[in-house]
Symmetry: C2
């Protein structure tokens, strides 16, 4: 039986331990090609490089996986893999393991989830994995069984078009006992910039901040699951249009105003 | 009566004609503060700058609007405006006018819509405007009445939390007769990279490509409206989680498998 083809990417660069831990598990399930950013790309969301050229460089194989780095963003990696690296369409895209949480609103800014959503935009079942530990030498053991179960199930079952799965794993010792399907927690970032003064007396700013959970009592959220030692699984849709009448009742009236030139 | 406070941003930089055309209209409705990227940021999606510092620079007022540029992405502009520039919470965020369409799947990559979605993430009613003409000297006349009507209606009515409005305007002569609430067209980009060879014989790649409309007969899409000379209005949600049972029927079983350790 032909082994499935699995495309791997991340946002922490080809050097990150997280992507190596991911490849170690996925080579048990299929043939792996990894296309990762040359430089760290945290916070790159679904950014694409439009105003400069990109390079693809093949680097030594890792644990049986073909490895490349690309001089751009995580989404650039997926696009170049699809158009210029892979010989055939992958059966699965898996991104991560991210060094740090992509729960709650962080999914919007995450380069790891950006790459997974680009996989979904290509119509390929796509999953992103993140561990709630930012350190470069994080221990990815808590993620391994979740990768095994979810990657195998996704290969068997596929995913609806335009939907990716966002998996966050708490950095506890050993393997988390429980996994839960969650909603993304409503929250926001506070005190987002540290202010400095340069030698010439001009101010500059560096992004930082504390996440503020707006629904700490809600047991259905990913933040609740993670803070209780569980793995959170959140499906995310790249198609984000709304049922208009439910969403914005006055909008049809504004459109009528425009069309009827009633001022 | 106190005039509303309107925060403006874009992705084509503070120098772009599109943002000046937008400010010209919005100063009729309220007090405008514009915080725009120093350099063009097309395709930056919701990217944030996490690994380097940012500068805020006040520049001369334009048509009564306070103007700043920020050395980062469109989302950086909104975040710094909220935390370090504005004295009070804005009543409205308006981004654009983008030089080029942000219809269909392009909404995901757009820095202009990234800034609008960041406004929505802050809970502020937010609208992005784009004209389907990429040229630096585009004529933004077709957008003006749409800005007047939609900005005023949004100031009057607000928007549900976490929802922004994506407005695309066809580059026809004069003011489009019709505006329509649309779904984002399903489509994809084809032939996405032009391949070059550098003087040393190594290949490099530049993003390009043709948009392929996967539902050209569907009269509800933004692409259909634009190709028929109409303005498209698409509400987009930043909250993208799904009704799980409807979306991925097998996922609960995979989670059970993990939790019960049934392999």
């Amino acid at each position: 039986m032909k082994r499935p083809l699995i495309l791997v990417s991340n946002d922490d660069s080809y050097m990150a331990r997280g992507v190596h831990a991911l490849i170690d598990r996925l080579t048990l399930l299929g043939d792996v090609v990894a296309v990762c950013p040359l430089h760290p790309q945290s916070g790159q969301s679904m950014a694409i490089t439009v105003n400069s050229p990109l390079r693809i460089t093949r680097i030594p194989d890792y644990n049986g996986a073909r490895m490349y780095h690309v001089s751009g963003t995580p989404v650039d990696c997926i696009k170049l893999a699809m158009h210029h690296i892979l010989d055939s369409r992958p059966d699965l895209v898996v991104t991560g393991i991210n060094h740090g949480s992509n729960s709650a609103i962080n999914v919007l800014y995450s380069g790891t989830m950006g790459a997974a959503m680009e996989g979904a935009a290509f119509g390929i079942p796509s999953i992103g994995f993140s561990l709630t530990d930012h350190s470069a030498d994080a221990d990815f053991t808590p993620c391994l069984r979740a990768i095994d179960v979810l990657a195998a199930a996704t290969l068997r079952n596929g995913l609806p078009r335009d939907i990716a799965i966002n998996v966050n794993v708490p950095d506890i010792a050993g393997t988390p006992e429980k996994m839960r399907i969650c909603t993304p927690c409503r929250g926001l970032w506070n005190d987002e910039y540290k202010e400095y003064t340069d030698p010439a007396g001009h101010k500059f700013y560096w992004l930082t901040g504390k996440y503020v959970n707006l629904e700490p009592e809600n047991e259905t959220t990913d933040e609740w699951a993670l803070s209780h030692g569980m793995i959170s699984v959140v499906p995310v849709a790249i198609e984000r249009s709304l049922d208009i009448d439910r969403g914005i009742p006055w909008l049809a009236g504004a459109v009528d105003e425009y069309n009827n030139r009633v001022v």
